[in-house]
């Protein structure tokens, strides 16, 4: 059990109330809009795969044709499944639509009823796949087992070539990694389609595709049996195709997904409304699939100062929690992020880090918190970097963090070498073993530096949440409250793929998810799936 801070429960409750209030207008916005990616994700759940000779997926070609003819504001399921009556399958329909050979229309009466039934049956097959994947994960974890220690050790591979990633990931698992993340190619988040098939070239990462997901998961299943613990696989449900990637992840049994409510807005300049709509749908899919989300609070500290902006991390965690609960994600699937990014030249920086890490631990006791290593103050001095990573590991153990992303002393120099990874894992293993039960002995005094600092950050977070409630979250984002980035609601990429839902909007996937992923703050826990 990590140490307990003397936080005032009334202040904590107030923080959550304010977060819920700040989130509500955005939730309303998300519920009243749809996006091209939400609609395409629905087609993916219905089983449409593959791409045209230029590599543009058929889900894009079909959705684009419907958008051009009848728009997406009614949902594209009815026009698509009405048109399907004249075609043997979605593939053939998509090919014809791409050749401009299909007239789409909103069906009415019996036609609408028939289209609705066809759509529901098709999408249900996607949900069945997701449910089977979840069941299979539960079964494998029961058979093979979880890692014996907390935190779980999280390692990144990123070669650009899935067939190179696979042996690297397997080697990393054998060297002690419990979670493998395959970093995506730079810029994938700004592609308005999901590439198809196995890919062998990427920039600073490997494309997220359904086939790459399948290949890596199969390889790690093999390794899991060898090493005697279930190795989890992580990718990124972010960027313009967040809902589709979430659907692919659910169907291909990924175990964790990076999925932050605001990252795309702040760091990729994706339109805020597009992001919040896509976010909600993708989180509902993750809830259905039993996927642990990882939020991206660590990123704010790479642009803002980690001491001055500590409370913005807390605010973002509370907002991420509320958005996640609303989308049906229970606490055990809530990998809220935070990071060890205070300038090591700041006096008492380690005590400050402990205070921030304990605050997060205590605010979210049932969430698998993700502890991110130093990056901003890694200078290329690999010797000092290794020491800093050691302190990062120590803070993680002392404060009971759940998922520890392994820091590399060559951060900011090269993508990790084989030896860098080995040295970094050695560092983690040493600290985890030397300090295994240290949390038990670590009780900072109730009126000491750490307790006072944690209370100060919580107080500043409550103050900022109050301001956000008054100004509106979208305005706060526009004003540069998070990570110093200023992002107005009518700017950014992907706005042309957003539509307000018409009164007759219908989407069988959204309907199913609203039914099966209830708001965790409204429903008692046992009512959750």
């Amino acid at each position: 059990m990590p140490a307990e801070l003397p936080l005032d429960p009334a202040v904590v409750a107030q923080a959550r109330r304010l977060a819920a209030k700040a989130a509500q207008p955005v939730v309303d916005l998300a519920r009243s809009h749809t996006t091209v990616s939400v609609e395409r994700a629905t087609l993916r759940l219905a089983g449409l795969t593959g791409a045209d000779p230029d590599g543009i997926p058929w889900v894009n070609r079909l959705a684009d044709a419907v958008q051009a003819q009848v728009g997406i504001e009614h949902g594209i399921a009815l026009p698509v499944f009405h048109a399907l009556k004249d075609f043997p399958d979605l593939d053939r329909l998509a090919h014809a639509a791409a050749a401009d050979g299909v007239r789409f229309a909103l069906p009415t009466g019996n036609d609408a009823r028939a289209a609705r039934e066809r759509a529901q049956a098709a999408v249900q097959q996607g949900f069945d796949r997701i449910d089977r994947s979840r069941g299979r994960r539960d079964q494998l974890v029961a058979e093979i087992g979880d890692p014996s220690q907390r935190p779980w050790i999280y390692l990144i591979v990123a070669t650009g070539d899935i067939y190179e990633d696979i042996p690297q990931a397997q080697a990393a698992a054998k060297a002690g990694a419990d979670v493998i993340a395959v970093i995506r190619s730079t810029g994938q988040s700004l592609l308005d389609y999901v590439p198809e098939g196995a890919t062998r070239e990427g920039f600073a990462g490997t494309y997220a595709t359904g086939e790459n997901f399948r290949l890596m998961r199969a390889a790690l299943d093999e390794t899991s049996r060898e090493v005697g613990r279930y190795i989890r696989l992580t990718n990124y449900a972010s960027g313009l195709c967040m809902p589709e990637i979430a659907a692919l992840a659910g169907m291909h049994r990924l175990d964790m997904m990076l999925n932050d409510s605001m990252y795309g807005i702040l760091f990729r300049d994706i339109n805020p409304i597009r992001t919040f709509v896509d976010q909600r749908f993708s989180r509902q899919v993750h809830a259905r699939a039993g996927i642990i989300i990882n939020t991206g609070e660590d990123n704010y500290l790479t642009t803002a100062d980690a001491v001055e902006a500590a409370h913005t991390v807390t605010v973002s965690q509370l907002l991420n929690e509320r958005f996640a609960h609303e989308a049906g994600l229970p606490d055990p699937l809530l990998g809220l992020g935070h990071a060890f990014e205070i300038n090591p030249e700041v006096p008492e920086s380690f005590r400050l880090e402990l205070a921030h890490a304990l605050l997060a631990r205590q605010l979210f006791p049932d969430a698998p918190l993700k502890w991110m290593p130093p990056t901003k103050h890694m200078t290329g001095d690999v010797f000092r970097g290794n020491l800093l990573d050691g302190f990062f590991n120590l803070a993680g153990v002392m404060t009971g963090q759940s998922i520890l992303l392994v820091g590399m002393m060559t951060e900011a120099v090269v993508t990790p070498w084989l030896s860098d990874r080995d040295i970094a894992l050695q560092n983690v293993r040493y600290v985890l073993s030397a300090c295994a039960g240290l949390a038990e002995d670590f009780h900072p005094p109730k009126d000491g530096f750490i307790a006072n600092r944690a209370n100060q950050v919580l107080g500043e977070a409550v103050e900022l949440l109050g301001k956000i409630v008054d100004d509106g979250l979208l305005n706060a984002i526009a004003d540069g409250t998070f990570g110093i980035m200023k992002r107005p609601a009518d700017g950014g990429r992907g706005l042309d793929g957003v539509a307000q839902r018409a009164p007759d909007y219908w989407n069988p996937a959204a309907e199913e998810l609203d039914r099966t992923s209830p708001d965790q703050d409204a429903a008692p826990k046992e009512a959750a799936r």
Binding site: T186, G187, L190, F203, A204, F267, D269, A412, S419, I484
Partner: protein
Amino acid sequence: MSRIVRPYGDTTGDGMVQLSFTLPVPHDKRAEGAALQLAAKMGLDGAMLVHAKPIGDGYTFFVVYGASTHLVNLDEVKVVEKDYPHLSPKEVNDAIRERLGRKLCVVGACIGTDAHTVGIDAILNIKGVAGEKGLEYYRELRVVNLGAQVAVPDLVNRAVDEEADAVLVSQVVTQKDAHLHNTREMAAAFREALPPGRRPLLVVGGPRFDEGAANDLGVDRIFTRGTTPSDVASYLVHRLVTSRETAA
């Protein structure tokens, strides 16, 4: 005083260096011999293998110490010397106000797919870096920070609209030489869009650039690791205010 130097361990002239590397062979006697042979070929005399550790299947990591047999003549080392005086923020502001008579406009961006704004933000954001405030802090500078992943044509258009005196571009992602391609593309786009007299000063920065490659890349100046906002501000004043005046 000798201008010829060797590495220094704990005695002048001992030439001692440390080295670490991985060989794609399993750890055994032959692997250790291979590591020492490599060290000898790299010019290490009397190399000592102080650490050897197997990594995964078929790889071994080594740490080697030895005396370098190479010498360096300091007179033959070529560097880009700082060819402008270093100014404080106040001196920068005074120079612009008194001698330019208007605000100096700087447009900054990360171009291409690079989303790492840490470099451009360190130089431009008022927050700054290394205890120095960024260029936004300078009263006589007007800073337009376009942020991440800006397309080159958008950067050119904005620079034209703002009548920018200087364009600052930061490039952190270097996979497949993306930083070099992007910089060349940007320089070409400005050459195409504007005649020489009206082109803004083009400045790029990033940890993996070679300071001497400015001509090759078609830009006016390259800044690398360790650059602070006042370095950039001093350079801008030197090129756009002081030296232009003497030339005129």
